[in-house]
C-alpha cells in the first residue's frame, strides 16, 4: 500500500513491470519473426481485444485482493449478452431498458454471491462456481436454448467502431474504465478497505471497517464488470451465443495473477491486470498468426500462467 502511493511506485511493483515487459518483448519477438505483425494497426487490434478480458479482470482483481475469487463471471458475461440481444432484438428501441435489466441482474447476482460468502460463510470458490451453474441454467431457461436477437447498433458501434485519433472506441472506453477503477482503488475509502480486508480481515473488522459490506460490494462490482464485458462482446460479434464466456473464466483469473495480484489477497493492482490482459492477448494473437490451433493455445495458456506465477513468486514481495 505505502509503496503504491509513492511517486511512480507502481513501477517498483515488480510483478506489474514484469508483465508489461513480457508483453512488449513478446510483441517484438512476434514482429521479428512474422511479417506484418509489427504495426500500429496490429497494436490497436491487440489493445482493443484485450479490453474484453481486461474488463472482466476488473472484478477478478477486486475479488482476488479481498482474498476471494469470482468463478461466476463466465455465465454472468454470457447471460448479460443474451439479455441485451434478447431484449433489444437488434434495435436501439429498448436499449435503455436492456441496460437496466442487465445492470439489475448483475447487481443482484453480485449481491447474492457477496451475501453467501459473508453471512452464510460459504467459501468464495464454491459460492461463485455454484452461481455460475445457476446462471447457466437461468440463461438457458431465458433463451430456451436458442439465443435470439442481435446486438443494438450503439453497442456494435462501441465495440467495433473507430473513435478520435483513429483509435477504436473500445480502447477509449477501456481507458476510461481503467481510470475510474484506478481512482476507486487509490482515492476512495472503498478502495483502501478492499486492500485492508484482503490482507487482514480480522484486524480490519476489529478496526471498524465494514468488512462484510466491502466484500459484498466487491462481488457486485465483479458481476457488473462481467456483464459489461458481455454487452461489449455481444456488440463485437453482433449476437450472443452459448459458451461465449467460457474462456473468460480462466483468462480473467490469469490476467490478474500474471499482473501480480496475489491469490492470497491484500496485494495487486488493476494496472497489473491491464498488463496481464495485454500480455495474454499478444500471446493469443501470436498463436493465431502461427496457426497452432486451439489445442496448442489451451496448452500454452496453462504453461504461461504457471511460468508467470513462478516468476512473481520468486520476486521479493513488498
Amino acid at each position: 500500500m505505502t509503496k503504491l502511493r509513492t511517486a511512480g511506485g507502481w513501477l517498483a511493483y515488480r510483478g506489474v513491470g514484469a508483465a508489461y515487459a513480457a508483453a512488449i518483448v513478446l510483441f517484438l519477438v512476434g514482429s521479428l519473426f512474422i511479417r506484418g505483425f509489427f504495426g500500429w494497426g496490429h497494436i490497436l487490434a491487440i489493445a482493443s481485444t484485450a479490453g474484453f478480458v481486461g474488463i472482466v479482470g476488473i472484478g477478478q482483481t477486486f475479488t482476488l485482493i479481498t482474498g476471494g475469487i469470482d468463478l461466476s463471471v463466465a455465465y454472468m458475461l454470457n447471460f448479460g449478452a443474451l439479455l441485451v440481444t434478447g431484449i433489444t432484438l437488434g434495435s436501439s428501441h429498448h436499449f435503455g431498458l436492456a441496460l437496466l435489466v442487465v445492470g439489475a441482474v448483475a447487481a443482484l447476482t453480485g449481491l447474492v454471491n457477496g451475501v453467501g460468502i459473508t453471512f452464510l460463510k460459504i467459501p468464495p470458490l464454491i459460492m461463485t462456481l455454484s452461481m455460475n451453474s445457476i446462471l447457466e441454467g437461468a440463461a438457458l431457461l431465458y433463451s430456451n436454448g436458442t439465443p435470439q436477437g442481435a446486438s443494438p447498433p450503439l453497442l456494435t458501434a462501441l465495440a467495433t467502431g473507430t473513435g478520435p485519433l483513429g483509435i477504436p472506441w473500445l480502447i477509449w472506453f477501456w481507458a476510461a474504465v481503467t481510470a475510474v477503477v484506478l481512482l476507486i482503488f487509490r482515492r476512495t475509502v472503498f478502495g483502501r478497505w478492499t486492500y485492508a480486508t484482503g490482507s487482514a480481515p480480522r484486524a480490519s473488522w476489529l478496526s471498524g471497517i465494514p468488512v462484510d459490506r466491502v466484500v459484498i460490494l466487491v462481488y457486485m462490482v465483479s458481476a457488473v464488470a462481467a456483464a459489461l464485458a458481455g454487452l461489449l462482446l455481444a456488440g463485437y460479434s453482433g449476437q450472443a451465443y452459448f459458451g461465449m464466456g467460457d474462456t473468460y473464466q480462466l483468462e480473467s483469473v490469469a490476467v490478474a495473477v500474471i499482473g501480480g495480484t496475489s491469490i492470497l489477497g491484500g496485494k495487486g493492482s488493476y494496472l497489473g491486470t491491464v498488463a496481464g490482459a495485454l500480455l495474454l492477448t499478444t500471446l493469443t494473437s501470436l498463436l493465431e498468426v502461427l496457426n497452432v490451433g486451439a489445442s496448442m493455445e489451451s496448452m500454452l495458456y496453462g504453461v504461461v500462467i504457471i511460468v508467470m506465477m513462478m516468476l512473481n513468486r520468486q520476486r521479493p514481495t513488498s
Binding site: 453467501g116 470458490l125 451453474s133 441454467g137 483469473v253 490469469a254 491469490i263 489445442s295 496448452m299 506465477m309
Partner: protein
C-alpha cells in the same frame, strides 16, 4: 446423539439422500425397478470417482480444478489407443497428470487453485490435440465393464465397491491416511511431528488423477467413444460431491460415506428432474443451488445458537 449433531455438514447428506429417495419413489409412483436401481448405480459411478478424488485432495487442504479435464484427457487416450494398452495407459496418464499438479503445487509452492486452473487448460489442450472432435473407438470389454450386469448387479458396482474399500483402508487403516487428515487440519503441526507433508499432498493429487482416469475410462466405455469435452462438467460436480458429502474446504474433515451418499444424491436429483418432465435446464440451477442451500442451511442452524467471534481460519487452497 443429539439432533444438532446430525445437522452438521458431515451428516446432513444422509437425511437429504433418504428424503430425495422418498421423493423419487413418489414421483415414480412405486418402488424403483431393478433397472432403475442399476442405472442409478452406473450413473453415479463417475460422480463417485471424481468426488472421491476431489475429497482426498480437499481433506489434505488443497483443491483440484483440473479434474474434469483429466477425465477428458484419459477418455480420449482410451478411445485413441489401439490394442490392449489403452486402459493402463489412461491410468498412467491420469496419475501422471495428478502427480504434475501435486509437484507444481508443493515443490514450487504455487496456489492450488490457479495452478490446477492452468494445468486444466493444459490437459484440455492435450485432449483436444489428441482428438479434436468426438470419435475413436473403445475395446469391447471396456464397454462391457461399464454397461453389463453380473446377474442383477452392474459390474461397475463391484468396481466401485473395490475403489471404496481401497479408499477406506488407505484413509482409515494406514498411517499415510491419517497423515492426509493431519496435513489438512494443521499443516505446520503435521510437519513438526515428522510427517512428510509434501509427499502426502503430492500423493493426494496423484490419487485424484488416477480416479479421474478411472472415470474417463468408464465414460469412454459407456459412450463407446472418446470426447474431449466430456469431462468439462465434472470439475464442478467433483467439488459438489465432495463438499455435499461433508468435506470441509478448510481441510482435515471429510468422510468416504458422505461422498458416496452425495454422488447418489446428485444422480437422484437428475433422475427426479427427468421424471417430472421439468426442463432439463433446471439441472444447472439445482446443482448450483443445492450446495449453496445446504451450506446455507447448516450455517443458518448454527446461527440459531451463535458461536462467538468470527472464524479466523482462512480457507486454504487459495
Amino acid at each position: 446423539m443429539r439432533v444438532s449433531r446430525w445437522l452438521r455438514n458431515e451428516y446432513l447428506i444422509y437425511p437429504i439422500l433418504i428424503g430425495l429417495l422418498a421423493v423419487y419413489v413418489i414421483f415414480n409412483r412405486g418402488l424403483l425397478s431393478v433397472f432403475q436401481i442399476q442405472s442409478l448405480i452406473t450413473s453415479s459411478a463417475p460422480y463417485l470417482l471424481v468426488g472421491l478424488g476431489e475429497a482426498v485432495v480437499i481433506i489434505a487442504g488443497g483443491i483440484d480444478l483440473s479434474i474434469g479435464y483429466m477425465v477428458s484427457l484419459t477418455c480420449v487416450v482410451v478411445a485413441t489407443t489401439t490394442g490392449p494398452l489403452g486402459v493402463p495407459l489412461a491410468l498412467v496418464v491420469g496419475t501422471a497428470a495428478g502427480l504434475a499438479n501435486g509437484i507444481l503445487i508443493t515443490r514450487f509452492r504455487l496456489s492450488p487453485l490457479v495452478t490446477t486452473l492452468a494445468t486444466g487448460s493444459f490437459f484440455f489442450g492435450v485432449a483436444l490435440h489428441i482428438l479434436p472432435t468426438p470419435g475413436g473407438s473403445v475395446p469391447g470389454w471396456v464397454s462391457n465393464l461399464a454397461e453389463e450386469n453380473l446377474g442383477p448387479i452392474p459390474i461397475m458396482a463391484f468396481l466401485l465397491i473395490l475403489v471404496i474399500v481401497m479408499a477406506w483402508v488407505t484413509l482409515y487403516r494406514v498411517p499415510a491416511g491419517r497423515h492426509v487428515f493431519a496435513v489438512g487440519d494443521n499443516l505446520e503441526g503435521a510437519r513438526q511431528s515428522g510427517i512428510d507433508d509434501q509427499r502426502i499432498r503430492i500423493a493426494t493429487y496423484a490419487v485424484a488423477g488416477t480416479l479421474a482416469g478411472v472415470a474417463g475410462i468408464f465414460l469412454a466405455g459407456q459412450t463407446s467413444s472418446g470426447d474431449p469435452n466430456i469431462g468439462t462438467p465434472f470439475t464442478l460436480n467433483a467439488i459438489l460431491v465432495a463438499v455435499l458429502g461433508g468435506t470441509s474446504l478448510a481441510g482435515g474433515v471429510g468422510t468416504i460415506g458422505g461422498v458416496v451418499a452425495a454422488s447418489f444424491v446428485l444422480t437422484v436429483i437428475n433422475d427426479i428432474i427427468f421424471l417430472t418432465n421439468a426442463s432439463s435446464y433446471l439441472q444447472y440451477i439445482v446443482s448450483g443451488g443445492i450446495l449453496i442451500g445446504m451450506l446455507g442451511v447448516s450455517r443458518g442452524l448454527r446461527l440459531i445458537r451463535p458461536v462467538p467471534a468470527p472464524p479466523a481460519k482462512r480457507v486454504p487452497g487459495r
